[in-house]
């Protein structure tokens, strides 16, 4: 399944890439692949902006505006401020919620 097209903020700065392949390993949606010993974005529209690649690139070659794709989180952050986060469960009874 694919979400909206042309929205992901994922950026790959190719000159910084040293070809270690960690980003390909940690991406849960096969957005990245190795191409000629360097990482390349093969399907940006599958990116959910989780930030795993950026978090694990020691060369700073990947940048993404990391966040949760959750309407409730975004509404909460608009009302109460702060970054949208998976905090709708709070500390109350329900811990099922992300």
């Amino acid at each position: 399944m694919k979400y909206l097209l042309d929205v992901s903020t994922l950026k790959l700065i190719s000159e910084r890439c040293k070809g270690c392949g960690t980003c390909v390993e940690v991406c849960p949606h096969e957005v990245l692949a190795m191409d000629n010993k360097k990482a390349s974005i093969i399907d940006r529209d599958k990116c959910m902006e989780c930030g795993a690649c950026m978090n694990n690139c020691s060369f700073g070659a990947l940048q993404v505006n990391k966040g949760v794709g959750c309407a409730a989180a975004i509404i909460n952050s608009m009302i109460y401020g702060g970054e949208p986060s998976c905090d709708c469960s709070g500390d109350s009874k329900s811990t099922n919620c992300c």
Partner: protein, 301 residues
């Protein structure tokens, strides 16, 4: 730290969260193997969400490796972190701080033994997260429950509108006129919070708000066509029904973005920039239509 089987200094170390289902899944899938399980205290939250929140992260893993004196327990330098923990755990930082190299393992615990056998390599099939019909189905109560908590308020408003007469609030009118619309509200909630998630890939358009509106419109049409709900309705009530209920469904469908495995923050924000003003605008229009409906019913208009 926990032991599975009879681990020794050569056994692998699996890192997981103290979310009951993760821990139980890891433990039961690892039967027959000899391993160490290093548990990070995520306060009962699963790996993915805890990684997003920061309780399953680089600092916590470094701290736990030091507390458990992992260097003295095993004589290798590998820890296996579930792939979905990569949002919080930065492998190179853990390595710099502790000397342990992070191997990002498979998404699912059932693939761990295969992952170890193949020399700590997770193929695309082990790394990709899916979003199957079953996955979506088990998540629908997460949407239906919060929606149903708001239902009494919705019911009260509907009954008040229907019961309000020049003589006061008439209970009989409230029930007779209101019950069909309570059923309609229920149908709209189920359209957005159950039908849309379940049928997700089969509903046209990518936007959740649009998908929810389509399903909501379909159920609204279905209810109107198969029941007598709008048979005696005046024009404002007719318009109100077709404006409000499909958008009510759309709202709950948009909420489902939080349960999916593939929506992005930029995408959801983009949807909301259009959807929220539409919701608010239609709510205002709905209130005006409700007033017109009552005025018309009372013969004022």
């Amino acid at each position: 730290m926990y032991a599975v089987g009879n681990p020794d200094a050569y056994s692998d170390v699996i890192v997981t969260a103290n979310y009951k289902y993760s821990f139980d899944a890891v433990r039961s899938e690892l039967k027959g193997l000899n391993l160490w399980i290093l548990v990070l205290d995520t306060k009962g939250i699963n790996v993915w969400c805890a990684a997003g929140k920061g309780t399953f992260g680089t600092d916590q893993l470094v701290k736990q490796i030091n507390i458990e004196r992992l260097k003295q327990v095993v004589n290798h330098k590998r820890v296996i972190v579930p792939q979905l923990g990569a949002v919080g755990v930065s492998g190179y930082k853990v390595s710099k701080a502790t000397g342990f190299k992070v191997h990002f393992g498979p998404v699912q615990a059932k693939d761990i033994s295969k992952f170890i056998e193949t020399g700590y390599k997770a193929g695309p099939e082990m790394r990709t997260i899916h979003f199957t019909l079953g996955d979506r189905l088990v998540l629908t109560p997460m949407e239906i429950n919060p929606a149903m908590r708001k239902f009494p308020l919705f019911a009260l408003i509907v009954l008040l509108i229907c019961g309000l007469q020049p003589q006061g609030i008439l209970f009989k009118d409230a029930l007779r006129g209101g019950l069909p619309f309570l059923a309609m509200g229920l149908a709209a909630i189920m359209s957005g919070a159950f039908l849309t998630p379940v049928l997700l890939p089969f509903i046209p358009f990518r936007s959740f708000a649009v998908k929810g509106w389509i399903v909501g419109m379909a159920t609204t049409l279905l209810v109107v066509r198969t029941t007598a709900i709008l048979d005696d309705a005046n024009a404002p009530l007719f318009a109100l029904t077709y404006i409000f209920f499909p958008l009510f469904s759309s709202y709950w469908a948009l909420q489902f973005t939080g349960s999916t495995t593939y929506t992005s923050m930029t995408g959801v924000s983009k949807e909301m920039k259009i959807a929220i003003p539409v919701y608010i605008g239609s709510l205002v229009v709905s209130v005006i239509l409700a007033i017109l409906y009552k005025m018309n019913q009372w013969g004022v208009l």
